[in-house]
C-alpha cells in the first residue's frame, strides 16, 4: 500500500472506529423503539451470514445454488436436536445415556454444525460438478426441497425431527455461564440501572460471528483459492488449462459456503428456541440468492448491503405500512402484507433494470 500512507491511514482508522461505535450503539438505539426492532437487527445479521456464505458459491465460484437454505436447516436442526429434550423424550437409550438432559453447548455445536453443513455441501456438490447455470439451479433447488421434505417427514418410523410440528424447548445460548436467553440488569435500582435485553446480547454474539465470517470471506477472496474460484466462474476451461483442479476447488466452494449456512442455522435455532421445516422453504433460498445478486455478486460490501436491504425493507414495511397509511388516508387501503410483496418485487425489478450488476458491484479497475 504505497499511496496515501498517512492521511489515508488515519481516514481509514477513523472510518473503522465510527463504524464500530455505530455497530455497538445500534441495538441500544433500536431498543429505545422496542425490542422487536433489535430482533430485526439480529435477523439481519443472520441473513448477512447466509448471504456471505452463498456469495462464496454464487458470487465467487459462479455456481447458482437455489437450495442454499438447506444448509441453514442442517445447522438449525443440529442445534435443535442436541440442545432440546426432544431426542431424550423419543429414545429411551439416549435418556439413559444422558441423565442430565441433552445440552450440547454452542462451542460444540458451532464447529459441528459448520462441519456437518460442509459435508452436506459436498454431498450436493459432488453429483453436480459438471452442471452449470440453469441446470445446476434446478438440481440445487431439488436438493433444498429434499432436505425440507425429509425434515417434514422424519417423524416416522422413528421420531427424529418431530415432523411439521417442529422442535421446541431449545436451549438458548449460554456463554461463559451467561445465559443469553434472559435479560441482565447492571447496577442497582438506587444508582440507576442498565438493562440489557436478550435480543441485544444475541445481537453482539451474531455481530461477532458475522465479523468472523466477514474476515474469512475477505481473506479467501484475496487468496490462491479465491482466485481459482473466480477463474472457474469466468472461464472454466481456461481455469483447468491453468492447472486448477476444478473438481476439488468447486467442492471447496460448496463446502465452505455451506458451513457458513450451518453456523447461522445453529444460531437461528438457539435464538428462536424453536425450529420447524416451514422456516426453510424455497422462498428463503430465493431471497438469499436475491440478496447476493441485487447487492453485487462477489463483492462483499454489496452482498452485505443486499442482505440488509432485502431483509430490513420488508420488515420495516411490516411495521410502518399500517400506521403510515392510516395517518395519510385515514384507513389502511392496502394490507401491509400485500404492500410488502408489491414493493419488494418492484424494487427488485428496478434494481435489475437500473443497476444490472447489483447495487454495489466490484469496481471495474480500468483507466489510468
Amino acid at each position: 500500500m504505497p499511496e496515501g500512507a498517512t492521511p489515508g491511514h488515519w481516514r481509514r482508522a477513523l472510518g473503522i472506529g465510527l463504524i464500530a461505535i455505530a455497530l455497538v450503539a445500534l441495538p441500544f438505539v433500536a431498543g429505545l423503539a422496542g425490542n422487536s426492532w433489535v430482533r430485526i437487527l439480529d435477523f439481519a445479521l443472520l441473513y448477512i451470514m447466509l448471504a456471505l456464505g452463498l456469495n462464496i458459491v454464487v458470487g465467487y465460484a459462479g455456481l447458482l445454488d437455489l437450495g442454499y437454505i438447506a444448509f441453514y436447516a442442517v445447522g438449525a436442526y443440529l442445534y435443535a436436536l442436541l440442545s432440546s429434550p426432544h431426542l431424550i423424550e423419543q429414545f429411551e437409550w439416549i435418556a439413559q445415556a444422558l441423565p442430565n438432559g441433552m445440552h450440547a453447548g454452542i462451542w460444540l455445536i458451532l464447529p459441528l454444525g459448520a462441519g456437518l453443513a460442509a459435508a452436506f455441501g459436498i454431498l450436493l456438490g459432488a453429483p453436480t460438478l459438471k452442471l452449470r447455470g440453469d441446470y445446476l439451479a434446478i438440481v440445487t433447488l431439488g436438493f433444498g426441497e429434499i432436505i425440507r421434505i425429509f425434515l417434514n417427514n422424519l417423524n416416522a418410523p422413528a421420531n427424529l425431527t418431530n415432523g411439521p410440528q417442529g422442535i421446541s424447548n431449545i436451549d438458548s445460548v449460554s456463554l461463559f455461564g451467561l445465559n443469553l436467553g434472559k435479560k441482565i440488569v447492571l447496577g442497582s435500582p438506587e444508582t440507576g440501572s442498565l438493562e440489557i435485553s436478550s435480543v441485544t446480547m444475541y445481537y453482539f454474539l451474531f455481530l461477532a460471528l458475522t465479523l468472523l465470517l466477514l474476515v474469512v470471506s475477505v481473506r479467501l477472496q484475496d487468496s490462491r483459492i479465491g482466485r481459482a474460484w473466480v477463474a472457474i466462474r469466468e472461464d472454466e476451461i481456461a481455469a483447468r488449462a491453468m492447472g486448477i483442479n476444478t473438481r476439488n476447488v468447486k467442492l471447496l466452494a460448496f463446502a465452505l459456503g455451506a458451513s457458513f449456512g450451518g453456523i447461522s442455522g445453529a444460531l437461528f435455532a438457539a435464538f428462536q428456541g424453536f425450529v420447524s421445516p416451514e422456516s426453510f422453504t424455497l422462498n428463503e433460498s430465493i431471497v438469499i440468492v436475491a440478496m447476493v445478486v441485487l447487492g453485487g455478486m462477489g463483492h462483499i460490501p454489496g452482498v452485505i448491503l443486499g442482505a440488509v436491504l432485502l431483509y430490513a425493507i420488508p420488515e420495516t414495511l411490516r411495521h410502518v405500512a399500517r400506521p403510515v397509511q392510516e395517518s395519510l388516508f385515514g384507513a389502511e387501503l392496502i394490507p401491509a402484507e400485500a404492500l410488502r410483496m408489491l414493493l419488494f418485487g418492484l424494487s427488485m425489478m428496478l434494481i435489475m433494470l437500473v443497476r444490472p450488476a447489483g447495487l454495489w458491484p466490484a469496481a471495474q479497475r480500468q483507466g489510468s
Binding site: 481473506r219 487468496s223 481456461a238 483447468r240 488449462a241 491453468m242 471447496l252 479497475r365 489510468s368
Partner: protein, 261 residues
C-alpha cells in the same frame, strides 16, 4: 531429432462419424519452435485439445520429456508442464491483468484454505512471491502498465499477450499457442514475433498453430502440416513449402511455380 520434448505417435480422435485425427505423429525438439499448419478444419485445434487433455484421444502414445503422460485431465497436463493459449481468447474477463497471471501461478503454488484464512507466514510469503512473479511476467510480455486494468478492457493485442503471460506463469516446458497472431496487424505480428523469440531464449519450447504462413516460415525451426486429420508433411520450413502434398492441400491442385507464397 535426438532430444525431443514432446513426442506423440499414432494419435486418433473420432467425433461420431468424423475422423478428426488419424494416426497423427508430432515431434517437438527441446528448445525449438515447431509450427503446426494446415487448412481450416485440418484438425490442428483438435490435436491441441488432445495434447492438453481437453479431448480424450481414442488412440495414441504420448511422451513428454521422455516420460509417458496420459492427457486425460487438463489440470494434470498443466502440472506436467504444458501450457496453452486459445484460438478464441479465453481470459478471466472481470479479473485484472495481474490477477489473470496470478491464477497461472496456481499450479506451482500450494496455499490452501487454512493458510488463507489464518494468513500464515508461509501463505503470505507465497502470496507475495505470486504477485512479484506475475508482475515480472507482465513486464516480460510488455504489458506491465496494464497490470491493474480489467482483462476485458485490454486491447486485442494486449489480450493475446496477457494470455501468453498467463500460460508462462505456469512455468511450462512446452508452450502451445493456438493462432496467437490471428487478427493482428503487421506491426503487432512483428512484435509478437519478437516476444516468441524472447520466450525461446528463456529455454521454453513452443508449439505454434498459425495461419500466417510468413510468420511460421520465418520463425519455426520445423513445421508439421495437417490435412483432413492426417500428417501430410513434416520437415524444415523451406522444404515443407515446396512439398507437392502441402501445395495441393492449400490450393487444391499442383500447378507449376505456385510455391511463392
Amino acid at each position: 531429432m535426438t532430444d525431443l520434448l514432446l513426442d506423440i505417435r499414432g494419435v486418433s480422435k473420432r467425433f461420431g462419424g468424423l475422423q478428426a485425427l488419424s494416426d497423427v505423429t508430432l515431434a517437438v525438439p527441446r528448445g525449438h519452435i515447431v509450427g503446426l499448419i494446415g487448412p481450416n478444419g485440418a484438425g490442428k485445434t483438435t490435436l491441441f485439445n488432445v495434447i492438453t487433455g481437453l479431448y480424450v484421444p481414442d488412440d495414441g502414445q504420448f511422451l513428454l520429456d521422455g516420460k509417458p503422460y496420459s492427457p486425460t485431465a487438463v489440470h494434470l497436463v498443466a502440472a506436467a508442464g504444458i501450457a496453452r493459449t486459445f484460438q478464441n481468447i479465453r481470459l478471466f474477463g472481470s479479473m485484472t491483468a495481474l490477477e489473470n497471471v496470478m491464477v497461472g501461478r496456481h499450479v506451482r503454488t500450494s496455499a490452501g484454505i487454512l493458510g488463507a484464512v489464518l494468513r500464515t507466514p508461509a501463505q503470505r510469503t507465497e502470496e507475495r512471491a505470486i504477485r512479484d512473479q506475475a508482475l515480472a511476467i507482465l513486464e516480460f510480455v510488455g504489458i506491465a502498465g496494464m497490470a491493474n486494468h480489467t482483462a476485458r478492457t485490454l486491447s486485442y493485442g494486449d489480450q493475446r499477450r496477457l494470455e501468453i503471460a498467463r500460460a508462462l506463469a505456469t512455468e511450462p516446458r512446452l508452450l502451445a499457442l493456438d493462432e496467437p497472431a490471428a487478427g493482428m496487424n503487421a506491426t503487432e505480428k512483428q512484435s509478437l514475433r519478437g516476444l516468441l523469440e524472447r520466450i525461446l531464449q528463456r529455454g521454453t519450447t513452443i508449439l505454434l498453430i498459425e495461419h500466417d504462413v510468413k510468420l511460421v516460415m520465418g520463425l519455426c525451426d520445423r513445421v508439421t502440416v495437417l490435412d483432413q486429420g492426417r500428417c501430410i508433411a513434416e520437415g524444415l520450413p523451406a522444404d515443407v513449402r515446396l512439398d507437392p502434398a502441402v501445395i495441393e492441400a492449400y490450393l487444391g491442385t499442383t500447378p507449376e511455380g505456385s510455391a511463392h507464397a
